[in-house]
């Protein structure tokens, strides 16, 4: 630290003196070192808690193993098992695909709501807040609440449907093969809808109003403007929704776990719950590992595909110029 009395000219010589001694490493090396230093802590976390476990799963998927038992090489046994012998795996895969409908459904609803609250109407901030409110809720709590709402004897939904005269006998939504998955999907949509809405809303607000004005002058009516201006320019936001939706579908584990635990039968079992059960209730960690690897590959493919559909380059449409 300089003393207060020091003068600017002294300082200049100081600066020059400082310049005289060349830095130890070249600028390029220092830059690289700096970048990796910044990345390292985060990468370490991912390495430890994602990459290593994935590798562990890959190894396990070619083995026989349970806690306490020695590990043995199994070749493709586990993969053959899931491909040819485990009908439930395919059912669960189908359920997962259906459950993924949460993403498009939520996106469509969120888009509609975003368009509504993007208007200059009074109270739009209140609407936005209300619609987002379920997102921060703990998923386990959401599951508890919805299980209660769906209850056939005293649940609010059955009560409402009955008092409106829509049904005569209560429906045990979560115990029914016909309704259980849909019921869980509805709860999931309810929770994530607001999050998507906010993402889309911000995307909407980033579209320069001049584009709409130009389109109005060009003769495009409201629906033309939506399809030809709004939607294409929202692609990056929609892509973000899909990615977040995929990640959120992992947390749906908690939802299923509390609402139905996969039942009735395997009607609401998803890959993630099925893997968990295989590992921890059946002690089939090796088999679970194989399914995990399959799931990883499928989801990665899904993400890459949406990326491609969103126009590649992570769907970047630079509106700014």
């Amino acid at each position: 630290m300089d003393t207060p009395s020091r003068h600017a000219d002294d300082r200049k010589t100081a600066v020059v003196a400082q310049r005289m001694k060349k830095p130890f490493l070249s600028r390029k090396t220092r830059h690289l070192a700096f970048v990796w230093m910044l990345l390292l802590p985060a990468l370490l976390v991912y390495f430890a808690y994602r990459a290593v476990p994935l590798a562990w799963n890959v190894v396990l998927s070619f083995s026989f193993w349970a806690p306490g038992k020695p590990i043995r090489f199994a070749g493709l046994y586990q993969y053959q098992e899931l491909a040819f012998y485990d009908g439930i795996f395919w059912e669960v895969l189908k359920n997962t695909a259906i459950f993924m409908l949460v993403i498009p459904i939520s996106i469509m609803l969120a888009l509609a709501l975003a368009l509504l609250v993007d208007q200059k109407i009074t109270g739009r901030n209140i609407y936005r807040t209300i619609i987002f409110l379920p997102y921060p809720m703990m998923v386990v709590a959401v599951g508890i609440v919805w299980r209660w709402l769906y209850n056939d004897n005293v649940g609010l939904i059955n009560y409402a449907l009955r008092s409106m005269g829509l049904i005569s006998r209560p429906i045990a939504f979560l115990e029914s093969y016909d309704f259980a998955l849909a019921a869980v999907i509805a709860a999931a949509v309810w929770q994530i809808l607001g999050f998507f809405m906010i993402i889309i809303l911000t995307g909407l607000q980033n579209i320069p109003p001049h584009l709409y004005e130009a389109a109005r002058i060009d003769g495009a009516r409201a629906h033309h403007r939506f399809w030809r201006i709004t939607l294409p320019l929202l692609r990056p936001s929609l892509f973000l929704c899909v990615i977040l939706g995929v990640i959120a579908s992992f947390t749906s584990f908690d939802l299923i776990y509390t609402m139905t635990n996969g039942g009735p039968g395997h009607a609401t079992d998803l890959l993630i719950t099925y893997i968990y059960k295989a590992a921890f209730t059946l002690s089939r960690f090796d088999y679970a590992a194989a399914m995990t690897v399959v799931m990883f590959v499928l989801f990665l493919a899904l993400a890459l595909l949406t990326n491609r559909l969103a126009g590649g380059d992570a769907g970047k449409v630079d509106i700014s110029d």
Partner: protein, 358 residues
């Protein structure tokens, strides 16, 4: 092509009135430039004409028909925006074809029209590009192309050149002018750049604070500004404006020195005035002043040699005073000099009302 008329046009944003009862009649095929400082309401007027902004009072007529309640798409106008407002996700071709698709043209017609417009504007090679892949000038041209393919009744431009650099601005200006001459479409052009106004307009509308200050040909607004505002706004470097006192016979500067002996019977009344003379009418005095010329003693601040000519920035009685002189001048910064101007090129304004005194 069509006439355009503003009649007692008013625009309010909530309680705030930003356009105060404007009247203006634009002739068929005329090129009218609205010019004025930022925030004076130019864009607002243009956008009301386009139908993008609701009209708070008065009316707008296109081709004699009131359009207050008519949708933008049904007004048959085309507009070029300052930021071009090109659709970023569409190619140049699609951008230009966009409006035609909503006007019942078939594919072939669209192709022909876009091709024609592209040829006119030299865009033929760029039709497949995205706006992002274009330079500023090219984007500007696409925006114009999008406007002309439609063959509209009225063209609207909102500062179409202000995102371009000086050189491009100059050449695009000429292109716009040529285009207007060829198409002959009624055009309303908004800018805050007085050079554009002067060079493009058939008539210039000078606006200030939501009001029209003067309407006239470039010649009129330049040589016969009706208000102090117009005088100071039009011309670059701006007109030298110096506070002066008229004592009935003489026009004196603040420091008491005499500015003009015979103020050409402008302003019979004595009182506070603003005296004006354009820099290009000012020369460096040599020898005794000829008949009908006046002179001031100044201190030179800065000399700017522009090549073609040289600007001398000086101070007289505390006010800046500039002269545009031929490149070869002997004046030096810090020195004092005598500057001369012909009396008949001077202007006099009432210091309170800002009105020109004829």
């Amino acid at each position: 092509m069509a006439t355009v008329e503003f009649s007692s046009l008013v625009k309010k944003y909530g309680p705030l009135e930003v356009v105060h009862s404007i009247d203006l009649a634009i002739r068929d095929g005329e090129f009218v430039v609205l010019v004025g400082p930022s925030g004076c309401g130019k864009s607002t007027c243009l956008r009301m004409l386009a139908g993008l902004e609701e009209i708070s009072g008065g009316k707008i007529l296109i081709d004699g028909q009131i359009v207050n309640e008519i949708e933008p798409r049904d007004r048959n106008i085309a507009m070029v925006f300052q930021d071009y407002a090109l659709y970023p996700h569409m190619s140049v071709y699609e951008n230009m074809a966009f409006s035609l698709q909503y006007r019942g043209f078939n594919k072939k017609e669209i192709k022909t029209r876009v091709a024609a417009a592209a040829t006119t504007l030299g865009l033929t090679d760029l039709l497949d590009r995205r706006p992002k892949q274009l330079s500023g000038g090219q984007r500007q041209r696409v925006a114009m192309g999008r406007a002309i393919v439609r063959d509209p009744q009225v063209f609207l431009f909102d500062e179409p050149l202000s995102n371009l650099d000086a050189k491009l601005r100059g050449s695009m200006r000429i292109e716009i002018k040529k285009l207007h001459r060829r198409l002959g479409v009624t055009t309303v052009y908004v800018t805050h750049d007085q050079v554009e106004a002067m060079t493009l307009a058939d008539r210039v509308v000078v606006m200030n604070n939501g009001r029209i200050e003067q309407v006239g040909t470039p010649e009129q607004v330049y040589h016969h500004p009706e208000t102090l505002f117009v005088a100071s706004f039009i011309g670059s470097p701006t007109m030298n404006l110096v506070p002066a006192e008229h004592d009935g016979t003489l026009l004196r500067l603040n420091d008491g020195s005499v500015l003009i002996r015979q103020p050409e019977n402008k302003a019979a009344q004595p009182g506070a005035k603003m005296f004006g003379v354009r820099p290009e009418d000012v020369t460096v005095a040599e020898g005794p002043p000829p008949e009908g010329h006046s002179e001031v003693e100044v201190v030179v601040d800065v000399i700017e040699a522009l090549g073609a000519d040289t600007l001398v920035f000086a101070t007289v009685a505390g006010s800046p005073f500039a002269a545009r002189v031929p490149p070869a001048t002997r004046l030096q910064p810090g020195a004092s000099a005598r500057l001369r101007f012909p009396n008949d090129k001077t202007h006099l304004f009432d210091a309170d009302t800002g009105k020109a005194l004829a």
